[in-house]
Amino acid sequence: MPYRHYLLGEDQKSLLDRLVSQFTLAEESHGSLALVYLDTFDWRLHQADLRLVEEDLCGKARIDLRHVDGTLLASGDFPAKVFAWDFPPGSLRQALEPLIEMRALLPVARLGGRRDLYAVLDRREKTVARIEFLAPQVRGNEDNRQALPPRLLVHSLKGFAPEARRLADFLEGPCGLTRSETGLFDESLAALGRRPGDYSSKINHGLTPALPAGQALRQVLRQLFTTLLANQPGVETALDSEFLHDFRVAVRRTRTALAQLKNVLPAREVEAFRKEFAWLGSITSPARDLDVYLLDFPRFQGFLPPEARADLIPFRHFLQRHQRTEYQRLVKHLQSSRFRALVCRWRDFLEQPGGLEETADGMKPIDQVADRRIWKIYRRVLREGQAIGPQSPPAELHELRKTCKKFRYLMEFFQSLYPAEDIGRLIKALKGLQDNLGAYQDLHVQVETLGRFSREMVAEGDTPAETLLALGRLVEGLDRRQAEVREEFSERFARFAREENQRLCRTLFKSSSPEQA
């Protein structure tokens, strides 16, 4: 980012004249400004204090990844790509890959307008600083343009700090300019009515312990609803896999909230909505499953010896074909009157649920209700987990996995009611167990589904024998891995259920629920 940033009242010409009287300036470029700030939908670069900017310099594209303090981390002389794996191998890709993972890079703001760039030279004719006059216009994703005030940017160069300071002193002293503390990025977003970080899939509600449970639950549900709607356009345009993922998580969390806090909202309505959200869960499953297989594809290839990896490619084409069909089907559902009706009715209901006084728990303080529910589900986790031995069938692990998810969601919904460090520790401990159960369940399902897929591929015809063979080897590999993961379960569970965590759960959730004592 620039060393200094000034908004200009005075016109550019007279300011230039003043500068020329004190400094040697050389024109570097004149013309139009064309830059695009990019980030993922969930602002992963912004969260990591990074800026990715694509710039058009006289018809040549250039992309820079910088720290917000301006340090250049990586760059390339090509236009931005959508996914990290689309970038050519190199430092830019290396920097992006672990951060953005499977998320698409989307334009956050586009800037047009005029730009004049000058180099400030010393007596060796070395550039020691740069001055940039900008008359920017910001464009959002729709075609609305907005002019931002003209400005002057001073860019310092490494090793030439005193020169930049002298320039700034002159601009702030004799020229009377005042520094602007906000940057172009923030101003552009503000002009578009956005705030960096305005979407996150994480949940954390600032709830107060005495808030009536009915109100608290509505607050939780409203935020989940916002998340769901925020992801809908990305699902419909299939920008990347995570829109559907976050959409589904919002649905699942909503279902958990409705099921676990039964006596808080009016029962009849809740019953009807639970059915509709269950429907949303089921219509989104097939598309998500295919997303997961495609995301896992490189891992699948890793199960095979290098020479057999290419044999799996037709399988990827199969998955891609089916993914497209499933997405089309899903989009139809999202445009159906059933979905639209759900959205309207759910919105109305969250506005005015009515009848909270008549429910058993609606008016009780949320901390009591949360304690009781979390304690109950926690004990179920313990019970189910302790019952699992080396011979227990997969269904029991699956059941425990679902219970853990509920436990997790409840802790997340109500985390603001508990000391952050304690609840954070518990969530982390639970995550260790969930990872194991999740991996096991996924492998279990994959082993079964891959069998079905290969039968379907045969039915669709044209599948090379090598591909079917490779799929068979893959299933063997996954099967072995599944056994390993199953082995690890007891140790993972023991670690979660250790005395220290049990004690923590008792203190956090049990103390204020006398009826459970």
Partner: protein, 251 residues
């Protein structure tokens, strides 16, 4: 970070011309690139229009009392920085000698730079000394400009022998022809025949060209003022070869 050193025991063979132009190309290709001008004469520093002076001099650098990063200057080009020359580099040998493991010293000093740079180019003075030994230990590859004469080929052989004796097995030696004058029969002959016999040899010869001489007047790498000339094109294909040999990712 890949460390490349432009090195030849002989003077005036095109080491600095190569270091400056290849660094410029590396930076243009998106690699964060640093040139360290180790030659007290400061030719590379001059081409980048920077004052040949380093706070604390060679002593501060070698002893580790000065953080390298504070002494680095941005050049006029994106991605390309310079650690300037200093008159005191004349006595770099003596300064190194005072350290515990003089030949390993440079490698150690360079280590922290890996966080900020993808490519480091050392422009070396013409000599064989403790400094050059330290460079051999620190570098991944030596870029060796060779003027196509029988004598310079002998010096090249000595360099390979030296590497073998010192067991510097990880050090790549990448010679290339420099200042090639096609009008001279001997030049033509050597350039056409030698690479076939030597696998390490880079394939692109750098022609003798007035544009390279003009770098001194222009005080700039070729890319700045004569990007389309034959010599610039030769450096470009030489850089592609170097990047491919050393597996420098090509964004």
């Amino acid at each position: 970070m890949k460390v490349l050193a432009s090195y030849n025991i002989k003077g005036g063979v095109g080491k600095t011309a190569a270091a400056v132009n290849l660094a410029w190309l590396s930076a243009r290709g998106g690699h964060r690139t640093l040139v360290w001008d180790l030659d007290p004469q400061g030719a590379a520093t001059y081409y980048f229009r920077v004052k040949a002076k380093v706070k604390g001099g060679g002593r501060g650098l070698v002893s580790g009392r000065r953080a390298l990063d504070d002494l680095i200057k941005a050049t006029d080009f994106a991605n390309l920085d310079l650690l300037p020359a200093d008159f005191s580099y004349r006595s770099l040998d003596l300064l190194l000698e005072q350290e515990k493991k003089p030949t390993r010293r440079l490698r150690k000093i360079l280590k922290p730079l890996a966080e900020h740079y993808d490519v480091l180019l050392l422009d070396c003075p013409p000599s064989i000394s403790l400094v050059s030994e330290a460079v051999f230990f620190a570098a991944d590859a030596l870029l060796v400009p060779v003027i196509p004469t029988t004598l310079s080929l002998r010096t090249l052989d000595q360099l390979f022998d030296f590497r073998a004796r010192q067991q510097l097995d990880d050090l790549a030696i990448l010679p290339f022809f420099s200042m090639v004058d096609r009008r001279k029969g001997l030049h033509r002959e050597i350039v056409e025949q030698l690479p076939a016999q030597r696998v390490e040899m880079l394939k692109t010869p750098i022609p003798y060209a007035s544009e390279v001489e003009r770098m001194g007047l222009e005080k700039a790498p070729l890319g700045r003022f004569a990007a389309r000339c034959g010599a610039a094109a030769a450096f470009e294909s030489l850089w592609d070869e170097v990047a491919a040999r050393l597996n420098i990712g090509n964004p």
